[in-house]
């Protein structure tokens, strides 16, 4: 091995905090449905414990062997609307509590999959699950929920979008004492993938294995440091954007390799199949772990200023190019995340007024995953929230990509005020929403936005 390779690798792991962001075990719960909710809950707890009982311990063992931290150990399950179909709202809430209990039992911090797919239409199970979401999420600790309301093949279910505006309002009002935090555990999707290891939107899709390990790669910090080093070595005046794109690509290759190596070892130890590596750059509120910082390094003096969308597009594409070659199976969301509260630079840009909801929306048309972790005034009405969702879903539907919305209306607070959710969920100034209350007639139509045409692409 060449000594410069050794030194570069050591630097990446030690100074740049290379890690594996998430090892997520997907578990099918389809065989857990029983005659009543109580027995179903027992079957769920038993099955999760049976498969994931050693997940945390195994991740820690492999992590110690390789001296690469596995930051989050999580579980995704079959969308619960399928598992609990036939039960009423109370039955679903019992299942949510059972999932919470199972998560604590196996020692993970978050479990995703309290979910439904209503892109085409709504079953009775979907209805009961959606009705249960506000109580389920505000009375459990570790459960995350998601609803897929649209797809490129099916169009957008606008009845569901209208309903979910109210669900988000209720989630925030039920958790008013924590700034509306319950809404941070709920996300609305178009083209939701069934193999995404990242929360809050992880589910174990119906087309997946019985049990599987999916992995989310290291965060944006490693990319940021690589860019800084390249610019310091070569001088900004000697570098074109293509050189920086190449640096991102190479670093993404290394980061992905590391994720795949660790993920495959965990899967081998647990004797279950390895699913995918998700290439997404997921920021955290920690210093030096920000996608916004990469935008600054790449030349934006204010995030949200003209040029920001182009930079995000280049970053996202370069990460995919490096990662796709590094991994045997790439999947999940695989794009740069721009979750405002969870990314210090983005949160600061919202505070300074340079980054608006509209610019964030534009950025999501070229990256993963959508309007994510954005605190908005508690006074914004449900129809306006639904309309914001509809806009974002349309971007995903037309462009054949995943988009999502995770908005947190903060009860009793207005734009410019501050909210902190703590830990990985971060903090932010509340972003202004323009033209509130002007979308009611549109949302009131309901029905469906038809699936888009797949030719005449312009």
């Amino acid at each position: 091995m060449r000594s410069e390779d050794i030194l570069k690798t050591v630097e990446m792991i030690q100074k740049e905090n290379l890690d594996v962001r998430a090892v997520t075990m997907g578990i099918s719960l389809l065989d857990c449905h029983r005659a009543d909710a109580k027995q179903t809950c027992q079957a769920i707890i038993e099955k999760i414990n049976r498969h994931a009982g050693k997940l945390v311990q195994t991740c820690e063992q492999i992590s110690s062997e390789y001296a690469v931290p596995v930051v989050n150990k999580r579980i995704s399950v079959t969308p619960i609307a399928h598992v609990g179909s036939g039960f009423d709202r109370d039955g679903f809430i019992q299942i949510a509590r059972a999932l919470d209990e199972a998560a604590s039992l196996v020692g993970i911090d978050i479990l995703g999959g309290y979910s439904a797919d209503v892109a085409n239409g709504v079953t009775s199970g979907d209805t009961e699950l959606i009705n249960s979401i506000p109580e389920a999420l505000s009375t459990t600790q570790k459960i995350c929920s998601s609803v897929n309301v649209g797809s490129t093949r099916a169009g957008i279910n606008m009845d569901a979008v209208a309903r979910l505006g109210h669900v988000i309002k209720e989630l925030s009002e039920r958790s008013a004492d924590s700034g509306g935090f319950a809404a941070a555990k709920f996300v609305v999707f178009t083209n939701q993938p069934g193999d995404n290891p990242f929360m809050a939107g992880a589910i174990h899709g119906l087309d997946q294995h019985e049990v599987v390990i999916n992995v989310g790669v290291s965060g944006p910090g490693v990319i940021a440091r690589a860019l800084e080093r390249r610019i310091a070595n070569d001088g900004a005046e000697n570098l074109g954007l293509h050189d920086l794109a190449e640096e991102i690509k190479e670093t993404a290759f290394r980061v992905t390799r590391c994720g795949e190596l660790i993920g495959r070892r965990v899967a081998a130890e647990l004797e279950i199949p390895f699913g995918v590596v998700d290439l997404s750059l997921a920021p955290t509120p920690n210093v030096g772990d920000s996608v916004g910082e990469i935008m600054k390094i790449l030349g934006m003096d204010a995030i949200g200023a003209p040029g920001t969308t182009a930079i995000v597009a280049m970053l996202n594409d370069a990460v995919k190019k490096g990662g796709a070659f590094a991994s045997q199976s790439v999947g999940g969301l695989s794009g740069a995340f721009i979750p405002v509260c969870e990314d210090r630079y983005l949160a600061d840009a919202v505070r300074d007024g340079s980054l608006s909801l509209e610019k964030l929306e534009a950025m999501t048309s070229v990256c993963s995953v959508g309007l994510d972790m954005i605190a908005i005034p508690g006074s914004v009405d449900a129809a306006t929230i639904s309309a914001i969702i509809a806009d974002e879903m349309a971007i995903g539907m037309i462009n054949g990509k995943t988009t999502a919305v995770r908005l947190i209306p903060v009860p009793g607070k207005e734009a410019g005020e501050f909210v902190a959710f703590g830990g990985l969920f971060g903090e932010s100034t509340i972003a202004p929403v323009r033209s509130v209350g002007k979308s009611g007639r549109f949302i009131a139509f309901g029905g469906k936005i038809p699936a888009p045409i797949h030719s005449l692409k312009n």
């Binding site: 091995m1 030194l7 690798t9 990446m12 690469v68 190596l261 081998a268």
Partner: protein, 195 residues
């Protein structure tokens, strides 16, 4: 080549010049010697080579030494030559899953290498490859090591933290697979470990 053969380890040191490899290998070929493995390195104009070669049973160590002494006599630069037969079977080199890379960096000081090597002896760490370099004003020592004989990796890691602190060194122990994974095209994939 006869079916019966004996293996030798031959090492040569000399001032570097054109033709050393040719002269040595030609001499060995005349004795029907088959070179199985070899490494060479040049440092400050000095050349060193170590090789593993097998010879028919009738070629003795003395024959090889005499042949190489002949090369030395004709050589414009003196050659330091050592020939040893491999009597014991090759020592087990450890297993790939126990292969790690240890790097230690800090201010250049007398006894640096000895201290790090001493640590390796204490924890039964076998050094497979060693190189040192100066990087950003620091002395950096890089060792490929085998930890097969260590009782526990976590014990070594804990001891390494103390060792680094006591000696004012930055020491990092990383699995060899990580380096392969991030620097090479193919991914090192391993099955479940036997416990």
């Amino acid at each position: 080549m006869s079916t019966q053969s004996i293996e030798y380890i031959i090492s040569i040191t000399s001032q570097d010049r054109i033709g050393i490899v040719y002269e040595i290998s030609a001499a060995l070929a005349e004795l029907a010697g088959n070179i199985a493995d070899s490494r060479q390195s040049v440092m400050c104009g000095y050349y060193t080579m170590i090789m593993r070669a097998s010879f028919p049973v009738e070629v003795t160590r003395q024959t090889i030494e005499a042949k190489l002494a002949e090369v030395d006599r004709k050589s414009p630069t003196p050659l330091n030559i050592l020939v040893n037969s491999i009597d014991e079977p090759l020592a087990i080199m450890g297993s790939p899953e126990n292969r790690y890379v240890l790097t230690a960096s800090g201010a250049d000081q007398i006894g640096f290498v000895a201290r790090v090597a001493g640590f390796c002896v204490k924890y039964q760490i076998n050094i497979l490859d060693l190189s040192t370099t100066l990087s950003q004003g620091e002395f950096v020592m890089m060792l490929e090591v085998d930890l097969s004989r260590c009782a526990s990796i976590s014990e070594v890691r804990t001891a390494l933290v103390d060792f680094g602190r006591e000696n004012m060194l930055r020491v990092v122990l990383q699995h060899h697979d990580i380096f392969k994974a991030v620097n090479e095209i193919s991914l090192p994939i391993r099955p479940k470990r036997e416990h």
